[in-house]
Symmetry: C2
Subunit: 141 residues, 2 copies
DNA sequence: TACACTATTGCAACTATGTTGCAAAATGTT
DNA sequence: AACATTTTGCAACATAGTTGCAATAGTGTA
């Protein structure tokens, strides 16, 4: 784990700092998307709020994580796949928000379907967010 | 205009107040989606911030407007079609955000395409937000 | 290892956004 | 017009996010 995180930071040309390691750790431990507040809970009192904001922003810039739009307008972050690089995201997958456990997942293997635009509109990015019940909640209830 | 707004309020079982009329007017004048701040600008100093928040919430509850999730997590509101009623929205259309003029539109005639969910996941709602260049900006630049 | 340079962090202060309780004012009803 | 009910404005509060700056930690080099 430790080594994987260090490699990822090096690959992204980022210096190895405690906050970055700890925050990345949060993402690898939880495999769902995290809100700023979740991360604050996870890393505890160790780091300043501002540091977390800046670290997340840095990760987004470097293509390590991406943001997810949600219907209730909370900002969520999730790890990018390897194919993402700095300034060049490939997040064409569907995001899923569970109404039961409230977690948000990247459905990496579900590609956003094409949609036909009216004349005059040119699409450059498409975000698709599905809500419902996730596989874990469906299995346990 | 005035009469159309009064009718809409009556149909929704809402009392006719100045703030509700003025705020609805904003939506009928702009045919794009509005953020809270846009409305605050539009109605000027006439009404308190809190009143605007509560009025928008009331309209959402009554099915007069719906919220739009955006990638940059600003809350936007837009008029619902007639088929929406209290507690029962039919917003299965695609939303479009123009990267140029920054306006957001409901593409009422573009239905969100079906998407195949992985085993175990049950979808209940799908939001699709497309960004790019709108027909107006494409025509004028 | 020590040094110097650069990047990162923490603090404080600030802005924006949104919520709640309560008294005052406006609305709808008779 | 008078009443009961909603709605509004105010004040205070809560949360989210940003910025400048000085202190600190990380990185490359000797």
């Amino acid at each position: 784990m430790e080594q994987k995180i260090i490699d990822l930071l090096k690959r992204s040309n980022l210096s190895i700092t405690d906050s970055r390691k700890k925050i990345l750790e949060s993402f690898f431990q939880e495999n769902s998307a995290l809100a700023h507040a979740d991360i604050e809970d996870h890393v505890g009192e160790d780091f300043d709020r501002v540091t977390i904001y800046r670290t997340l922003q840095t990760f987004v810039d470097k293509g390590i994580i991406h943001t997810i739009p949600t219907p209730d307008n909370a900002v969520l972050y999730a790890l990018c796949k390897d194919s993402c690089s700095a300034g060049h995201h490939h997040d064409n997958h569907v995001h899923f928000i569970c109404d039961n456990c409230n977690k948000t997942f990247c459905l990496e293997h579900v590609v956003v379907p094409a949609v036909h635009m009216p004349v005059g509109f040119a699409a450059s990015q498409i975000d698709m967010v599905v809500s419902g019940i996730c596989n874990y909640c469906n299995a346990t209830t």
